[in-house]
């Protein structure tokens, strides 16, 4: 990718399609570099998967590439924290990866070794220390890995915050759908045509409708939120079995995954389903989620549930996002396919996209996330 070519009649250097957290982060980073950026959003800012997700900022090591991306993202998030408004509700809760037995404790120790070697602060808790850290967990449990630098945030407010400069310059267009992208010309649903230097397609699950040449699936999730119970929970707590269940690429699954909100509310996750594109709450999935949550933390059953909602993650076949030029149209850079990690990895995505457009090198290797890998996989399947 060469340097950004500007001018030649374009009003904007870059048009970002999608005002979710990924699009917002890209717009923020690009604007900070002095580029003229516009953002097109068919709905409202942060109203898609960004609003539906938990807002867990987490280091994940499903693959070395995933760990590199999440680690860089956490560093970038840290740089942003001072500026964030209080309503972004950032809290450094840390994450507890819960082990129920010795097999999972072996995984805790493996993870500890890996994270420590990467410079991620963490510690191994035995069953007793875990019970002290989170008194509502059932006993006995084998132990946990505590990752200290992980946190939680309220993503829709962050998305709006990241877009404030774009909005102030009058270049944030909500309620505007894009019907096609050809070359570097975007055609809106109402027929308006916008020519631009480059397009960043950060349209989440809808990205496939605008750019061809790759495959993505919608992966439905459910969340439950409770009334306020300050002190009930301190960390984001996730079962280590999550690694097995969340990353099975085909089957429906639920996992124990609880989050304390700044308000004292508890978010109860999580579920992953394919083949259900309706937004309705699935009673069977809710039952499994509640059973799973109560199996780890029985007191959850007594908390008052206020709302249940659903959302869709944009999932790629290899569980890594698509960041970089689209194979069929070099003027379009994809920034999508973040599955359940989009809040965390929005930051590194924005960094990589910005580096590509400015012809700079990046702090991590970009190849694992390049969309061209998909063609490669298809050709060798």
């Amino acid at each position: 990718m060469g340097h950004l070519v500007t001018g030649q009649g374009s009003t904007y250097d870059v048009v970002v399609v999608g005002a979710g957290i990924v699009g917002a982060a890209c717009a923020h980073f690009l604007t900070r570099e002095g580029l003229r950026v516009a953002v097109l959003e068919k709905g409202i800012v942060g109203g898609g998967a960004t609003a539906a997700g938990m807002g867990h900022l987490v280091a994940m090591d499903d693959s070395p590439a995933q760990l590199a991306l999440t680690k860089l993202s956490l560093q970038l998030w840290r740089g942003l924290l001072e500026e964030l408004p209080a309503s972004a509700e950032y809290r450094e809760t840390g994450t507890l990866w819960i082990a129920t037995d010795e097999e999972e404790m072996a995984e805790v120790r493996r993870k500890y070794g890996l994270y420590s070697s990467m410079g991620l602060a963490c510690e191994v808790l035995d069953g007793e220390a875990l019970a002290k850290a989170e008194s509502e967990l059932r006993r006995p449990l084998a132990g946990a890995l505590r990752v200290l630098g992980d946190g939680v945030v309220y993503p829709p407010v962050v998305a709006q915050f990241l877009l404030r400069e774009v909005a102030e310059r009058g270049a944030l267009f909500t309620g505007r759908s894009v019907s096609s992208i050809e070359g570097n010309v975007i055609t809106l649903g109402d027929g308006t045509r916008i020519s631009t230097g480059y397009v960043v397609n950060a349209a989440g699950c809808s990205a496939v409708d605008l750019t061809s040449g790759f495959v993505m699936r919608k992966r439905k999730g459910h969340l439950i939120i409770t009334d306020r119970y300050p002190g009930f929970l301190r960390h984001q707590v996730v079962e280590l079995g999550y690694l097995k269940s969340a990353h099975s690429v085909t089957a429906d699954s639920v996992a124990f995954n609880l989050q304390p909100r700044a308000t004292g509310q508890i978010l109860i996750g999580s579920s992953r389903q394919y083949e259900d594109e309706g937004a309705a709450v699935d009673d069977d999935i809710v039952r499994k989620m509640v059973e799973r949550a109560c199996a780890y933390m029985p007191g959850v059953a007594r908390l008052s549930a206020l709302r249940i909602w659903t959302g869709f993650r944009a999932a790629t076949p290899d569980k890594l996002p698509l960041i970089g030029p689209s194979p069929g149209n070099p003027k379009v850079l994809l920034a999508t396919g973040h599955e359940g990690l989009g809040i965390t990895t929005s930051m590194a995505t924005a960094q990589l996209i910005t580096d590509m457009l400015l012809g700079r090198s990046s702090p991590i290797a970009r190849e694992p996330y390049l969309p061209s890998r998909m063609n490669y996989e298809a050709a060798h399947a």
């Binding site: 800012v45 942060g46 009334d227 039952r287 059973e291 109560c294 059953a301 549930a305 206020l306």
Partner: protein
């Protein structure tokens, strides 16, 4: 607990009671569910206070007696929170959960007061009109207290009359509707003798209560609690001293359950045909959910719904003429008590709009839709699930509400999974 019924009625106000009685009289197995521990709904709970020697009289007495004589199963104190599958509702009573299966469902969930935010409305002793009445009924001493009753709708008069009977000094009854609208209302009643008689009776009972029309509260003033009420009285600013301010801006229908089971709404009301059939097969609705029309309308619609659900369509048809008359009254009420658009200017920028989440007007007003406002400001995200601020924002900003999802009322997490919650 899992139970099955031919006809399940939700809401034990006049419409629900009439529906349950009629369906049971046709030989159907019927259950009635209400979140209050006593039948009667908001209106007959109020009405019973106007009884002679503590006895229920009038329509309420007739219908309560009829209900007692049936074999209708009562689930009083239970609230419906989910519709997990077609023809099943889930109800909770504390940690208990019941799965109620039905062949036909009649939704008669009534209406609630609309409250509008204005500066000072969160001060102690500023209450909903129905809320103050309920407190007085529960023993709040009101004798000798100066009360301003303000807002709009016929219930204000009923509340003012009730409070005065309990010894309150009702220093002002402020109705935002204009005198000319109220006169048109009176003329509209001429064709409806019982309504006219009611109006005359209320007129008689409320004599001596200073009525101000085209008048509404602009601020509740006081240090730690209400001391004075600032009014806009026909464009003039007036202040009066008061111990209580009881507000209500007419009623909004409780359409959460009809929405949850998929019924189509027309504006705020559920769409029904003349037999009270909604757009969902075997689901009926009667009473205020179909249009705020008061007790008479609720009773007629309830009977029609109960008879039709029980298969006695012929008998139901004989009530259609009466229904047409009450529908005219419903439309007349809507026209008479339509909110003056000037009321949209009531909240100041620092006025709290959402009390659950402490969200101010300035945090809400920059947003383009209810959903955006919820996401960015947390308005409507609290324990009341937007029942109060949602109705206010609908008027203030003209926002449509979102689709409804379970639970439609907060329940323990364990109850979400139905009867299997017993395992925890």
């Amino acid at each position: 607990m899992t139970r099955s019924f031919d006809v399940l009625v939700v809401g034990a106000g006049p419409a629900g009671i009439a529906a349950a009685v009629c369906a049971a009289d046709e030989g159907r197995e019927v259950a009635i569910v209400d979140e209050n521990p006593h039948p009667g709904g908001q209106i007959w709970r109020i009405g019973r206070e106007n009884t002679e020697h503590g006895k229920v009289v009038g329509d309420a007495e007739v219908w309560m007696r009829r209900l007692d004589r049936t074999s209708v199963q009562s689930f009083l104190g239970w609230h419906i929170f989910d519709a997990p599958a077609p023809k099943v509702l889930r109800a909770a009573w504390g940690p208990e959960v019941a799965e109620l299966h039905f062949k036909s469902l009649i939704i008669a969930t009534g209406a609630r007061e609309r409250l509008l935010p204005f500066p000072g409305w969160t001060l102690p002793n500023v209450l909903g009109a129905g809320g103050l009445q309920a407190l007085v009924k529960a023993g709040l001493p009101i004798r000798g207290k100066r009360v301003v009753v303000a807002g709009t709708g016929p219930l204000l008069i009923a509340v003012a009359v009730y409070l005065r009977q309990k010894g309150a000094d009702v220093v002002a009854l402020c109705e935002q509707a204009s005198t000319s609208n109220l006169l048109k209302f009176g003329i509209g009643l001429l064709g409806q003798p019982t309504k006219l008689a009611d109006a005359v009776r209320f007129g008689w009972q409320s004599r001596g209560i200073p009525l101000r029309t085209s008048c509404w509260p602009t601020a509740a003033l006081g240090r730690d609690k209400l001391e004075r009420v600032a009014l806009n009285d026909n464009g003039r600013a007036v202040e009066i001293e008061a111990d209580y301010l009881a507000c209500g801006f007419h009623l909004v229908p409780n359409c959460q359950l009809v929405s949850l089971v998929g019924c189509v709404l027309d504006g705020s009301y559920v769409r029904v045909d003349e037999f009270q059939q909604t757009t969902v097969a075997d689901v009926f609705s009667a009473g205020e959910t179909t249009g705020v029309g008061g007790v008479e309308a609720a009773l007629v619609e309830g009977q029609i719904a109960g008879l039709t659900a029980a298969g006695a369509r012929q008998k139901a048809a004989s009530l259609l003429k009466e229904r047409n008359a009450t529908r005219r009254f419903t439309r007349l009420l809507d026209r008479t008590y339509a909110l003056n658009p000037d009321l949209r200017r009531l909240p100041a920028s620092d006025t709290i709009v959402c009390r659950c989440e402490d969200v101010s007007m300035k945090a809400v007003q920059g947003n383009a839709s209810w959903r955006e406002a919820k996401l960015q400001s947390r308005v409507g995200m609290g324990a009341c699930q937007g029942r109060i601020c949602g109705a206010a924002c609908e008027f203030l900003f003209g926002w449509g509400m979102e689709s409804v999802r379970p639970p439609i009322q907060p329940v323990p997490v364990g109850s979400l999974i139905g009867t299997r919650a017993e395992n925890f």
